[in-house]
Subunit: 200 residues, 2 copies
């Protein structure tokens, strides 16, 4: 294996592609955003260029939605990232609905939907980072497993790689977290004296 | 389609599973973190519980690394999220290397590696959010396409779903961003008067 110095590149990917919704001047609008993050539990970040139409709505109401489109919605999702709500009524593309929050519009055609209360806005030179806390979560009936988890394979999310600007689908589930590595815990002494072991 | 009120749940997933590295008291340590985010271009967030051993190293040096393991490293990656550097020398599991930054250790067995300069630490009650800017990026030679992008399929990343605590692999690439939706731009008038159209 030979490492290449790739310069200064963000290879942290893929990220989930979302449609962020907000009422702007009382009317629903959506924008495609994959620059998202989990900060902690039910607290997330959504990063939006200041030039976007939707930002004003997030700040005006202190609420926004995050909708997860399926791969079959790839074309319309990509489109919503290329045209502005200043010129196009993107809400007309979808069936809109509201939940607990009456100012954070959601997209019925997206299998999973969340409404967020804006906690804080981080003001960067070109972007605003909206930090929000979930208020309510909705999803298609067949998506919920054990009454609490989302069946990601059924959701079939759009995964975005900033490097190369590509959309990927989700692959197969291959392990359970906080479980698959458990058997190694008993081997810790061996590990401490063993040669480098990255693959098991 | 019927929407279910799922309560207050974070369905924003999957996220890339990373191994975050830092020198702690001069020795490399790694911890598994999937609560990450892209804030803007080469600025990212990494969220770590205050109880973790690695946090001190990030703050001590003002640097950290983000390493992207492959799915075949699932077991050891999961393990690194379950045991503490206070007790286990996790660096002994891997071949360690340094790049431009001499205090942000990286894992040679991970196909892609980044070194970050700490810009800001957001202090939450239980977590610290480390906001960093990329200083240098490294990857396996065969991973780089067109001399600048990462071949994500070859990287074969570990995708984490907090909902259900599952690891997934990446699926196939199905479209190019800022391109697949382009053809809809010419149809905007039709859209404005058309019934809801979420699938194309």
């Amino acid at each position: 294996m030979k490492k290449i110095d790739a310069g200064v590149k963000n290879f942290m990917c893929p990220m989930p592609t979302t449609l962020v919704g907000a009422n702007v001047s009382g009317k629903p609008n959506y924008i495609t955003i994959a620059h998202v993050g989990i900060l902690h539990s039910i607290t997330v970040s959504v990063s939006m260029h200041k030039g976007h139409y939707t930002n004003a709505g997030v700040k005006e109401n202190g609420t926004f939605s995050v909708n997860l489109p399926s791969a079959k919605m790839g074309k319309v999702t990509d489109y919503c990232g290329m045209v502005s709500g200043k010129e196009i009524d993107k809400a007309a593309l979808f069936t809109n609905f509201y939940g607990k929050l009456k100012t954070a519009p959601m997209i019925e055609e997206c299998p999973a939907n969340m409404q967020w209360r804006l906690l804080q806005t981080v003001d960067l030179p070109t972007h605003e980072i909206f930090i929000g806390e979930i208020v309510a979560t909705y999803c298609d009936e067949e998506l919920l497993t054990q009454g609490k988890n989302v069946n990601l394979s059924k959701l079939d999310p759009i995964l975005f790689s900033m490097s190369g600007a590509r959309y990927f689908r989700l692959g197969e589930e291959f392990a359970r977290a906080w479980q698959v590595g458990r058997e190694l815990i008993t081997k810790k002494v061996k590990f401490l004296s063993a040669p480098p072991l990255a693959q098991d």
